[in-house]
């Protein structure tokens, strides 16, 4: 981690000093332990602020759309897929982007950590290889990082960036993708699926953090914000509306969602959003044999048409 951090800082310093980019987007330490926050570095001497650790969970592809400046960006595997998907949608100009690729071994879910320390305040957190030492008033606890990874990270099959100008460390081992969670949910009876989603979506406070964290969600006007006409009720107390909001949000990502998990990581209520997004990722893979954002050649599944596309949805005649 320390080596990666230094390499990122050096790369940023060099890019800014040589005027290759106007700004480097990366992470800096937040004001609390286990927090880091996106940072915009414009001067070479500020590059020391850049950090790399197990809490750099935001998808920085979110800051790259329709920018005139030359940008250097620190990119994980998931972010890199979002960048590729956005380039295909003409939202990012590759020539103005310098990608500092970082092989990622997953990010920590603070909610899981909070559960382990029973909600006590963590004053200091230190990473030692594969474990995390948490210190607070009157307690010290060592936990394994693998136990507190975000669900999206634990299941990630693209840990290494698919596109980069420079890689700051050796690639990490990949694992094969696994949609067994979705297959399992598909197999459940309708009533059980409804009940589960109702329970999950009843937690929703309609803060729209999931929408804002998603790099692929970039409509200038979102249907949930419209009041004339009011497409959808605004109150979080109506679970049906919450579910409709998610249905539309998720479907807008059909064939475009790279399963980066930024929505779920951003959710303050810990809603299992990927049970919905991954269904579409799985379908795109099964029906059209495509994955969003893994290479520049494949066209997004729903923006192409072939006469022999499968059409299992048609009414049987």
């Amino acid at each position: 981690m320390q080596g990666i951090e230094t390499a990122i800082q050096n790369a940023a310093k060099k890019l800014l000093a040589e005027n290759k980019v106007d700004v480097v987007i990366g992470f800096e330490n937040g004001s609390q332990p286990l927090r880091s926050t996106p940072v915009f570095i414009r001067k070479p001497e500020d590059a020391e602020k850049l950090t790399w650790n197990y809490t750099c969970e935001n998808n920085l592809a979110n800051y790259l759309r329709k920018k005139d400046q030359k940008i250097g960006v620190v990119v994980k595997g998931c972010d890199s897929r979002s960048i590729v998907a956005l380039m295909k949608e003409n939202q990012i100009d590759r020539d103005k982007l310098y990608i500092i690729g970082v092989p990622c071994s997953g990010m920590i879910d603070r909610k899981k950590v909070a559960d382990i320390v029973e909600g006590k305040e963590i004053v200091e957190a230190e990473c030692k290889d594969d474990s995390l030492v948490l210190k607070g008033r009157g307690f010290e606890k060592t936990i394994s990082i693998a136990d507190v990874l975000h669900r999206s990270c634990a299941a990630c099959s693209y840990k290494n960036p698919v596109i980069y100008d420079e890689m700051v460390a050796e690639p990490v081992a990949e694992q094969s993708e696994d949609y067994s969670d979705i297959a399992e949910f598909e197999a459940k009876p309708v009533a059980e699926r409804r009940a589960y989603l109702a329970k999950e979506l009843s937690k929703c406070i309609r803060c729209y953090a999931c929408r804002n964290a998603c790099p692929m969600c970039y409509c200038e006007q979102c249907f949930v914000d419209c009041s004339t006409p009011e497409w959808i009720g605004k109150s979080a107390s109506d679970v049906q509306d919450n579910l409709l909001f998610q249905a539309v949000r998720v479907f807008h990502g059909a064939g475009r969602c790279t399963d980066c998990g930024a929505c779920e990581r951003a959710c303050p209520m810990g809603i299992n959003l990927r049970i919905l997004t991954r269904k579409l990722v799985k379908d795109a893979k099964e029906l059209f044999d495509t994955e969003a954002g893994v290479n520049m050649e494949d066209k997004p599944a729903l923006s192409t048409f072939n006469a022999d596309d499968p059409q299992p949805f048609l009414v049987k005649e």
Partner: protein, 61 residues
Amino acid sequence: MLKNLLEYMGVDEGRVNFSWVSASEGGRFAELIGEVTEKVKQLGPNEGLIAKESGCCGCKE
């Protein structure tokens, strides 16, 4: 994919129907709509995805 998603989320199977009909195929359109209407009638009224809670503000009293 939309039909898949909706049925996955718990919309009754058979309630979402798609077909291709050209603007010049009036007869076929009428036939399809007839069939779909019949199918949906058999399913009965849509209860929605989530059982509505009684009470004024989401309370269960």
